[in-house]
Point group: C2
Chain length 287, copies 2
């Protein structure tokens, strides 16, 4: 491997947490390289109304604003896919296109949602199908709503939705789930509706009229390479960090949806900022 510039920090992830960290680090006068794929969980979302300052913006608008903001400050962005991370006295990041090195690393690669195998699901994403009750529940006040999921995430989403509508149907898509309200365990075949979601059709031929389907399945394991370098995770597969985003591996910090807490932009942006302050402190003490 030829000798590269060793950056003060490599940020992995170009969403709210990553870009927020990069902005602060650059402002603190550190050299920063930010790497990630375009997108993440904001991609394709129609309206983001609950992030302060985001008035009438889509998820794509917010992502693009973030890229523009970072570039305007002179932050180097690379739209590449991370394929490996190695740590010795410094951090080595390998992408599909290159190798990069840094003294510190900020991990904010977000999470992948596990999507159930339901016919025409994709057709209604943003048109009745949502992956976030806090974000979109508001749109369906007192309307019939279905919630499909399991585990702690499903319980949290139910808590939000049950305050918005008294017609919340809990679906399990064939799984046996023990929950505080009656659940519908029928397997789902496909979704229907003119333009927006109108009906959930089950494999037994029955159907359910709803205006929205909230999906709260478990989270994909996006942490394979993170785990490989010895990062500790909790039982929900979130990276364990201290109050400044510091992981158990020296020089590695993390934030956003990879760590615990609500999956909200406001929290991710704050995570990035907090970690940047801590990384700045660490870099200052090393130099």
């Amino acid at each position: 491997m030829k000798t590269n510039e060793i950056y003060d920090t490599i940020v992995l992830g170009l969403g709210p947490a990553g870009i927020s960290a990069a902005i602060y680090l650059k402002r603190f006068n550190h050299s920063v390289l930010a790497i990630g794929l375009d997108g993440g969980s904001l991609k394709g979302l129609h309206h983001i109304d609950n992030y302060y300052g985001s008035f009438h913006l889509s998820g794509d608008d917010i992502l693009n604003n973030g890229y523009a903001q970072a570039k305007a400050l002179g932050i180097e962005l690379k739209f590449e896919e991370v394929v490996d991370i190695e740590v010795d006295s410094i951090v080595h990041v390998k992408t599909n296109l290159g190798n990069y090195e840094a003294k510190t690393l900020f991990l904010a690669l977000g999470l992948g949602r596990k999507k159930p195998n339901i016919g025409r699901l994709k057709d209604y994403e943003g048109k009745g199908v949502s992956y976030c009750a806090t974000c979109d529940g508001f749109l369906y006040r007192n309307r019939p709503i279905a919630l499909l999921g399991e585990g702690k995430l499903m319980e949290e989403e139910y808590d939000v939705l049950s305050h918005i509508s008294d017609k919340v149907y809990v679906l399990t898509n064939g799984k046996k789930v023990d929950f505080k309200v009656k659940v519908n365990e029928n397997e789902i075949d496909h979704l229907e509706g003119e333009e927006y979601l109108e009906r959930i059709v089950f494999k037994n031929g029955e159907s359910l009229h709803v205006d929205a389907l909230f999906i709260a399945n478990g989270l994909l394991d996006t942490f394979k390479s993170a785990k490989k370098i010895g990062l500790a995770v909790n039982e929900s597969d979130e990276l364990i960090v201290d109050e400044n985003g510091k992981t158990n591996v020296p020089f590695i910090f993390a934030g956003g949806d990879m760590i615990s807490g609500v999956k909200q932009i406001a929290k991710a942006v704050d995570d990035g900022m907090k970690a940047a302050y801590a990384i700045h402190k660490l870099l200052s003490s090393k130099s």
Copy 2:
């Protein structure tokens, strides 16, 4: 006093923390009234570059976006001055124009900066004079910078500025201050400069060429009425809260610049969101 509507939550303060809390509470389907004066520490700031999503926006743009965002969600805003708060089984807020009542209160009235008595200071605010090194220090990389202040705030600002420029002059404006670098204890008379700040002129006739003057004095006591209702404060006059923004007084939460932590929009917005989740939980358990 005639009977008013009792809101689920009154939010005091229309800045990032207050509006963020109001947005989330409204989304959680609670009745919210937000009260405050137009402005706060964002008012009149030329560029806010370090808040994710705020690309080429001024402080006023961000505040106005926040008002529009809140109104679009149906949140009631009142531009009134809070003159008194009383707490019994509910919270009573008195403004210059009316009386309001709520089950819970979110306090985010920001802080007032103590401004030193320096001639023409106001003429150069946003044109060389700044109250936030993290926000504006970046603009003066390797330029001569003066820092006026005392206490912990000054030390923190020095730490930021000394990484940006090796020409940072610490001024005390007549006070005896013991600091790790040599300080200039001369009293300041006034500021000079064509359009932007160029010179600090001392009372002894000497002058200092700088491109920027950062002011890091102690904070005004904006907490008189807060203290009156028994809210605990720390030695820096910040309200003491738990990790969800809950104060020591039942049903009262706080966030933003009134509590500890960096005085940054990202942190204030997250404070507001976190408190809204906690208030939602509290209101749900009461009903």
